[in-house]
C-alpha cells in the first residue's frame, strides 16, 4: 500500500484540488483508493458530497483506527472511498501527544487499512504540527503544490529546512508547480530556477484554470465532469509521474 500526501505549509495553493483529482486518477487507473481528509475545513469530502465524520473516541491507536474505519464512506465512483474530516481533528495534536511513539502513530494506524486499499491519499492541513510530523513519517511521498511566487518558494524552503533539521528523508518531498499562468513573467522565471535547487521536483505542471475552480459548484472532481480539459489531462500526467517514482517505504 502506498501513502501519498498532498501537503503545503501555505494555504490556497491547490492542495485539496490535487488530493481530490489525484485520488480520482488513481482510482481510474485501477487502484483501490482511500482519500483521507485531515483538514478540519473538510473541503475534500465536500467535493464528494460526503458529510462530516461522526465523533469518535481517540484515546489510543486501537480506538483511533476503529473510529476512522467506521467513518469511511464510499464515493459515487466505485473504487474510491472517502474518510471525511471532522472539526474534532483540530485536537489531533493533543491526542497524538499523549501516545507512545507519538511521531509514528499515524503510520501504525494506517497499516490497519492495508487489506482494503492499494493507495491512500491524504489531504493535509496547512501547518507544521505534531500531526504534520506524523504525516511526514507515514507517507511514501509528500506532494507539495508550489505556486511560482516568492511566498510559495519561501514556504518550500521552510519545509525543506524542517526535513533537514528533523532528519526526515528529504527524497520523499515532491514539489510541483501549481496554478501556473504561463503569461506571468515572474512565474516563468521562478519555474526556470527552482527545480534545479530541488532534485525531486516533478516535471508536470498544473495550470491555473477556471475549470478547476468550478469544482466547488459541481461538487465533484474535475476529472469527473471535464475529463479532457487541459487541467484534467495534467492531473492524469501528474498521477502517472508520481506512480512511476513512488514505492512504499520500508517500515
Amino acid at each position: 500500500m502506498n501513502i501519498i500526501s498532498s501537503y503545503s505549509i501555505k494555504g490556497g495553493v491547490g492542495k485539496t484540488a490535487l488530493a481530490v483529482n489525484l485520488a480520482f486518477a488513481l482510482r481510474e487507473s485501477g487502484h483501490r483508493t482511500l482519500l483521507i481528509d485531515l483538514d478540519p475545513q473538510g473541503a475534500a469530502a465536500f467535493y464528494f458530497r460526503v458529510g462530516s465524520a461522526k465523533k469518535f473516541r481517540m484515546a489510543d491507536k486501537q480506538s483511533l483506527a476503529e473510529g476512522l474505519l467506521r467513518n469511511i464512506r464510499e464515493s459515487d465512483f466505485p473504487g474510491l472511498d472517502i474518510l471525511p474530516s471532522n472539526l474534532a481533528y483540530r485536537h489531533f495534536d493533543i491526542v497524538l501527544d499523549g501516545m507512545a511513539k507519538r511521531r509514528k502513530q499515524l503510520r501504525m494506524v494506517l497499516e490497519e487499512f492495508t487489506p482494503d486499499y492499494d493507495v491512500i491519499v491524504m489531504d493535509c492541513p496547512p501547518n507544521i504540527t505534531l500531526l504534520s510530523e506524523n504525516i511526514f513519517r507515514a507517507s511514501d511521498a509528500i506532494i507539495v503544490p508550489v505556486i511560482p511566487t516568492v511566498l510559495s518558494q519561501r514556504t518550500l524552503e521552510q519545509l525543506s529546512g524542517f526535513f533537514r533539521d528533523e532528519e526526515l528523508p528529504g527524497d520523499i518531498l515532491r514539489p510541483f508547480f501549481s496554478m501556473v499562468q504561463k503569461r506571468n513573467k515572474m512565474h516563468r522565471e521562478i519555474m526556470a530556477e527552482l527545480p534545479a535547487v530541488y532534485p525531486g521536483f516533478l516535471k508536470t505542471v498544473i495550470p491555473f484554470s477556471a475549470d478547476i475552480e468550478k469544482m466547488g459548484l459541481r461538487r465533484m472532481p474535475l476529472l469527473a465532469y471535464s475529463a479532457t480539459c487541459e487541467a484534467a489531462l495534467s492531473y492524469r500526467t501528474l498521477c502517472d509521474e508520481i506512480l512511476s517514482q513512488t514505492g512504499p517505504r520500508p517500515c
Binding site: 464512506r73 464510499e74 472511498d81 461538487r219
Partner: protein, 521 residues
Amino acid sequence: MDVRVQKNEFARLALPDDLGLERLQKEWSLDIQPQESKTLIFWDSFEWGVWFGGYALYSCGERYHLSVRQAGWSEPALCEEQTKGRPRFWQDFETGPLRTALQELLGLRGLTPVAEGIFRQRRCDLRNDLEKVVCRLVLTSVSSAGKRGEKELLQSCQVLSLRGYESEAARVVECLTECGARGCEDAPLDVLLRYTHTLPQKYTLRPAFGLDMTTPARKATGRIVRTMLELAVSNLPGILNDLDTEFLHDYRICLRKMRSVLSLVKGVYPAEETQRMRQLLGDLARQTNRLRDLDVYLLAREEYLGLLPQELRPALNGMFTDFTAERGKEVRRTTSKIRSPSIRCLLKEIEHCFCEKTLHRASPAAELPVGPLVFSGIYKRYRKICKIAAQIDTETPDEGVHQLRIECKKLRYLMEFFGEMIPHEDGAALQKVLRRLQGRLGEFNDASVQQKSLLDYWKQKKPGSAVSLGLGGLISVLYQRQQQTRALIQQSLEEFCNGSTAAIFKRTFKLPASAPATDAP
C-alpha cells in the same frame, strides 16, 4: 477458483409488477439509467461441469462470459472473451483465465446450450439531500427466449449498498418490502432452468444401486444392468451429434459393465439368456471399437508429438490427418448403425430382458442373498490374480500381462457394483491399491496395443519416408515406455498380493466355511 457473490450485494428481491419505485421517490431522488436488453445463451457440458463447479458460462453474440452461478446479471464476469465462431471445447478459447477455468470445469467434454433468456436491465442510483449516491439498485427482468417464445419469468432487484451507507440500503429494502417485494435467492440461470424443467444432475458411471447383503441376487443384478443400460442410452444423443469423445467412451464402459456383471455373478439368470445378452452387449460394443481407437490416438496427438524430437514431429502430422479423415467416416458409419432399427431393437430386447416384471425360468442363484455370493466371488478373484501374479516376470509375454489386467478389471467392477456393502475404509484402501495397479497395467497394455497398431500403419508406408521414420521413432519410444512400466507393475503386484492388502481382502471377503456356495451355480 474462489467462488463468491458480489461483495456489496445487500439484498436480492423479487418485485411485484408495480416496482415500488414511486415509494422510494418519497425519500430519495432517483437517477434511472436507460434500459439495456440482451439475449444470453447459457452453456454447459453433459455432466454440468460448469454448474457443479459453481459457475455460469453465457454468451452474448460471440462474447463469452464466466461468472459466479449465484451472482446476478449485474455483476461483472470473472473473465470473458470475444470468440470467433462457436467454441466447443476449452481449447477453442484463446485467453488465459477463461481457457484455464474451462479446462478444469470441462475436461474432455464439449459445450452445449442449456438455456436462453432475454435480460432487460435498468440501473438506478438513489441520492440523498446532498445529491450523494447512497444506494444503488439493479432492476432486471428475465424472460424466456428460444423456441418456446418470450415470457417474463422474473422481475428482480439487487440492492447494492455503499460502504458507510448500509443503513440507507436497509431502509430501501424495508420500503420495497412494504410494496410487496420478497427475498429472492434465484440467479437468472436458476429461473430459466426451472422454466424448462431442467434439473442439473450429477453424472457418474459409478452410481449407487441401493443394494444390501440380503438383496436377492437376480434382483440386484437386474437393478445394476437396468441402471447401466439407462446410462448407456443417455449417452446416445451425444454420440449421434458427435459432441465430444466421452459419450462413446462412457457408452462402451456401460456396455462392458453390464456384460461383466452377468458373468461375475453366475447362475442368476438362465444360462442361455445370459449367453444371449452377453453376446448382444459384446456386438454393440464391437461396432464402436475402431472409432474409440481413433479417438484415443487423436486425443493423444500432443503427447505423441511430445515424445519425438522437433525434427520428426511434422512427419507424424500426415498420420493424424489420415486418422482424422478416417474418424469422420467412422462417425458416419457408427451413427448410422446406432440410428438403425436393428440396434434400437437390440437395446429394446436387453431392456425387456432385465425389466423387473419380465419372468425368467428358475436358476440356481437367483434368490440367494447377493452379499455372500459376491464377497466369495471377490475373494476368489483376488486369489486368482495373486496366482497369475506369481508367474509374472520380466519375460512374461504381453498376453500374460493382458490377462492379469482383465482379471483386475473384473475385480474392480465387482467391488464397484457392490461397494455399498463393503466397509467404507477397507473398500477405499483396497480400491486405492487396485487403481494404482490397474493404472500401470493399463499403461502397459496401451503401449503394447498402440505399438501393434502403429506397426500396421507403418507397414503401409514407403520405407525410409519421413512418415516411416517418425513412426519408427514413436514405436521405439512406446516400446521403451512399456519396458519401464513392466518394472513398476512388479512393484504394484508386490504391494497388491502381500502385506496389509492381502490381510484386508481376507478379513473382509473370506467367508466362513458354512457360507453358501459362490461363484458357481
